[in-house]
Assembly symmetry: C2
Homo-oligomer: 359 residues x 2
Amino acid sequence: MRFLLFAAAGALLAQNSTPPVKSPEVHADGRVTFRIRAPNAASVALVTDWMGRGESKPLAKGDGGVWSLTLGPLEPSTYIYGYVVDGVTMADPVNPRVKLRAFGSGSFVEVPDKGAIWQERDVPHGKVEINWGKSAVLGGETRWVWIYTPPGYAASGKRYPVLYLLHGSNDTAAGWTMAGQANFIFDNLLAEKKMAPMVVVMPFGHAVPFGQREAFGKDNNALFEDYLLRDVVPMVRSEYRVETGRERTAIAGLSMGGGQALRIGFGHMDLFSAVGAFSAAAPQDFEKAFGDSLKDANTKLKVIWFGCGREDSLFARSEQLDSLLTARGVKHTFRASSGAHNFTIWRKHLAEFAPLLFR
Amino acid sequence: MRFLLFAAAGALLAQNSTPPVKSPEVHADGRVTFRIRAPNAASVALVTDWMGRGESKPLAKGDGGVWSLTLGPLEPSTYIYGYVVDGVTMADPVNPRVKLRAFGSGSFVEVPDKGAIWQERDVPHGKVEINWGKSAVLGGETRWVWIYTPPGYAASGKRYPVLYLLHGSNDTAAGWTMAGQANFIFDNLLAEKKMAPMVVVMPFGHAVPFGQREAFGKDNNALFEDYLLRDVVPMVRSEYRVETGRERTAIAGLSMGGGQALRIGFGHMDLFSAVGAFSAAAPQDFEKAFGDSLKDANTKLKVIWFGCGREDSLFARSEQLDSLLTARGVKHTFRASSGAHNFTIWRKHLAEFAPLLFR
């Protein structure tokens, strides 16, 4: 058994001759114990996606060089965390639930809640298809797009409205599915007949490679807009049974993707009739860039919905957008929630936004 | 910009006030430099999926507490690696290419070769669909299955033969796609007209949760066989346009999945006409379990293909299977390759095996 385990699991696992610690351990009451075996370390601390910049919490050293810390109870959701061991920030070495990111790595811990809208339930499931395609805008580079199709899509023969759903900066096209569980949110809302069946298109938001300033003479938001409108939208219309009218097309995103959704949605009211933004990096030049077209917003945009957590450093940007739209008489919803910059709030906001579409 | 980056990328990134090191750095000649900033560490070593058990290579400490090691040139492929920092084994903290695993975490480094069969090329791409479904065999639990459909599948209206393709022990249903780039291998072989268009079904091989001995009174291989035959195969036949005859159905896998493919293929010649196994954890009771049915193998199994690297600790098992089949007069191919237990060899073996199917 040891031999087989080694042969199959590879050299990394084999470095540990002692059995691995259990980490994270989620207790029935929602408390979570984080552990790491680091017998030679002088200090170990926990960092998470609900803590502020530079914040961390120390772990205590126990038997066998195992450091631990128990927190909570935490509100049911998925959190991202890591350790700082003698100054080195790392994912949890024994936790296989890692987040695919644009930079670095982090570990997931899920505090379950059977009632939560993002938990997998015994309902019909949609599928998520990974679709690789060449981008003319990106000089012939191939990019993947993750695409949710609702239960019954393959057999129905019908056309569906489309939501373009954008991810955050340190993420990939896989993020809304693998970290956000957006597919389960849609499955559950559909089973409860709370939202319209739709195709959800999740492209990769880094048209300019992460950490690089620009490509093809454009910054990332401008280049991504070109890529989305000139490559992704035509591909979706050609390969999937989707409706094409602006009334049947929406765009939303989180963080960086929220900023992109606001830019693209307000900039192209001929293509989109609904805009959503969660904890958005809302454009700071919004009034200058889109002020002139705000006069059309009430007739063209049926849904303008944005939300942000009060503990989020981006909160002020959403507040400013709220003030601007209010001052200009543009109907919209601004949800000021409690919460930080993480998937806990993004899941809730998606579940509140999606039912408003295509009604 | 710093603020935005922080807000979007979250707390983990923000822990580093100095700019991140570049790691891994792949040089034009195939050498790779591994780096980690660990100013307080007393020792840092590299572990990889081509090294043997307990082997590692030390990094040297340089300016600013950055440790580094340059290796190679390495043969073009994807490798998995990690660091051991003062006894703690971890993925590379700054590398976002992490492997989804059943246990622990590891980082990828890709040494590119434009000519390699697993590199994305400018050819039509198939799609990979993630399909979530309830398993009756697994007590109603929901499992995902990753399913490759070839270019043109959606529009063709045709039925396709099916390959069931199984992953290794420390892996998931995502492994053949995310680590093996099997989809690009199929795309490229199809573009060269070297293989028949087929649907490839990649289920999750841990019917018994990883690290647990059994569930529902069965060990993992027995329970997985039930799950595959009673849940996955009927789902595939109901939801995808596939042919159902044994002549049009094949099974293959790597490592643990290679052992499963051998068991299931030789145990169900009424369902499968081709079996492939790469670096297989070949059943050690093979003769006892399947000896009686070997008399039918030459008429029922059109393809029996297995391969293993000579540096692999599982090599002897494939050699034993080769001897047994030879002694019993069963036609087969045994490819004894140079190589270890990693995706370098599995990609090559898949590319050699797939063209043999459904001809």
